[in-house]
Amino acid sequence: MPAVQMAAVSKTYRRRGRPPQKALDGLDLLVESGGVHGFLGPNGSGKTTTIRVLLGLVRPDDGGTIRLLDRAVPAGLPEVVGGVGALVETPLFFPGFTGRLNLMLLAEAAGVPRARVEECLELVDLTDRADDRFKGYSLGMKQRLGIAAALLKAPRLLILDEPSNGLDPAGIRDVRELIRRLGRDGSTTVLLSSHLLAEIQQVADTVTILARGRRVASGAVAEVLAGRSAGEVRVRVPDAGMAATILAGAGFSVSPPDVPDGRTLLVHGVAAPGEITRVLAGQGTYVEELTPMTADLETAFLALTGDPA
């Protein structure tokens, strides 16, 4: 059973005096149960709108279908909301209340045991500051309280929108570790929306990339990256000029690197990198380094969205 299913979902914002703005344009999204699913897209691509639609905060245009934990949204949302934890953009808490009281009120409303509040506070390392007012928290502490609130229900589906915002490097590392651990436990699905491409690449098992309200790529992270790889290989030899002549003569497409050093060259469209070694060795030139160049997520992302991140 997929954790999230969206098919042909559109959302148009209509504001008086302004032209209609299409935030989602026939979006398809499939998040299988278990693991961490990355949700990537440039600013304004519709990531947060998607999450708001999933949580019933924003009403989509007619026509699409949305299912969350196998229940239609928004009609079936009350049945499954107990299994969904969410942190959307900035944490929303009452500024005059302490961190502990903010969590306790949520727990009280949903019937979550009080002990779970303490567990979650401990989990995000806020126990010592739990009796401080929320408005006195740093951005990172607010974010951590938001994560604690999202975890309060021990959710089957955890939706995190930019969870690393405001965290220091150690905090970012810890959150990533937490997300990885949740994704590995087999019973929690994490939908992670982030503009930090490295974060998605490090943490996510699958990814959906969004541009202008539409899905432009999805699948396992490795597959998405492989799809963007051009079969490029970096070769290091004693004499780059001679090696380039030999390889060109053998039908390879060759170019110098961005910063030529006389010993490195790039070979394109290589299906089998071992062939380069064989051709060069046959002419008495021995390879010192042979590195297949795989695309990173940033490259893939920029290519897919056609938009600087």
Partner: protein
């Protein structure tokens, strides 16, 4: 956040008891309202105000001594003598207009029956029969103002912090969320109204014990007073809902309080001057009409009589009519806010 990376945390992350228990949004919302610092400060100030009002009233009233009464009678005698002397001077005045009867030119003789000795006492005794209803009106009005502030700031703070939106991650039925908040506010404002009326009874009890000469209360006094107090509680609830509804509609406490101020200070004044016939439909008229025993008489000067002077006509804003008007206005404001809350996209 080192605890996240620590192994023991893993236990807490997974499969802890989730929402297995039966939650109570009503209890949580009651807890939320009770925990509000603004509400506590407001109630604290109200208690201080009540103590101050009781002390001021105690300073105003007092049990007169025999010496006080003798002094008061002496003062009345002096006034009578001065008045009679002035009248005689008028009657003996050669320049007094002829053809005008002396009674008309110099006035009738003043007697002791024209004065009440009690009016010349340094401290009058507290008379519950006379002040009971007025006190209930005053405390009811004060409670209504507090309730308006409570209603407006409660939902306003929810909108400004957007914690209302966060609550929907837990209870996605918007009508349930808003309905629960309204129910909690009705309960809290009714309690506030009861406490305010109780505070008046306490003040009256203290003054009656300390500053009164006693005396029996007229027949039906308590029933009459309790009915007034009951309507005072109803007004408190209406005021809380009006503050809530207005703020929920525009989602900003400051703007809502500003609109409230402009309405009562500017619009109502302008209406009374420019369109006196509309006065029975103003909120303040209906608030007074709801709580005042028998309703509120409004004298409307909107037409010229045979003498050429404006002769007022009297319009009675009856208790029931006032209740219906306030109820309809409250229902429209609250209903519009709830409807929009259910329809709008929330960000």
């Amino acid at each position: 956040m080192s605890a996240v990376a620590d192994a023991p945390a893993t236990r807490a992350v997974h499969r802890a008891p989730a929402t297995g228990g039966r939650g109570s949004l009503f209890r949580a919302e009651l807890h939320r309202l009770r925990s509000r610092r603004f509400l506590r400060i407001l109630l604290g100030l109200a208690v201080l105000g009540w103590i101050a009002a009781t002390l001021v009233a105690h300073g105003h009233y007092g049990v007169p001594t025999d010496a006080d009464r003798a002094t008061a009678r002496q003062t009345v005698q002096q006034i009578l003598q001065q008045s009679e002397a002035g009248r005689q001077q008028c009657l003996n005045d050669p320049n007094r207009p002829t053809g005008v009867p002396p009674e008309e030119a110099c006035g009738p003789p003043v007697t002791a029956a024209d004065f009440s000795v009690n009016d010349f006492l340094p401290h009058q005794p507290f008379d519950l029969a006379r002040t009971g209803t007025a006190g209930a009106l005053g405390f009811g009005a004060a409670a209504a103002v507090l309730a308006f502030l409570v209603g407006a700031t409660w939902i306003g703070a929810e909108w400004s912090s957007r914690s209302l939106v966060a609550l929907l991650f837990w209870v996605p039925r918007r009508s349930t969320v808003m309905g629960t908040k309204i129910a909690v506010l009705v309960l809290a404002s009714a309690l506030l109204g009861v406490l305010a009326q109780g505070a008046w009874l306490a003040t009256a009890g203290i003054l009656r014990a300390v500053d009164s000469t006693g005396g029996a209360l007229p027949h039906g006094f308590w029933g009459h007073l309790l009915a007034t107090q009951g309507r005072g509680v109803l007004l408190t609830v209406f005021a809380a809902l009006l503050g809530f509804g207005l703020t929920n509609l525009i989602r900003n406490t400051g703007a809502a309080l500003g609109i409230g101020f402009v309405y009562f200070a500017v619009i109502e004044t302008a209406v009374k001057i420019l369109r006196p016939a509309w006065e029975p439909w103003l909120l303040s008229s209906n608030a007074a009409g709801l709580i005042a025993p028998g309703g509120l008489k409004i004298y409307i000067f909107d037409r010229a009589g045979r003498t050429g002077f404006n002769e007022p006509r009297v319009y009675l804003v009856h208790n029931l009519q006032a209740g219906i008007v306030l109820g309809v206005v409250t229902a429209v404001l609250v209903g519009a806010g709830v409807y929009l809350f259910q329809r709008r996209d929330l960000h």
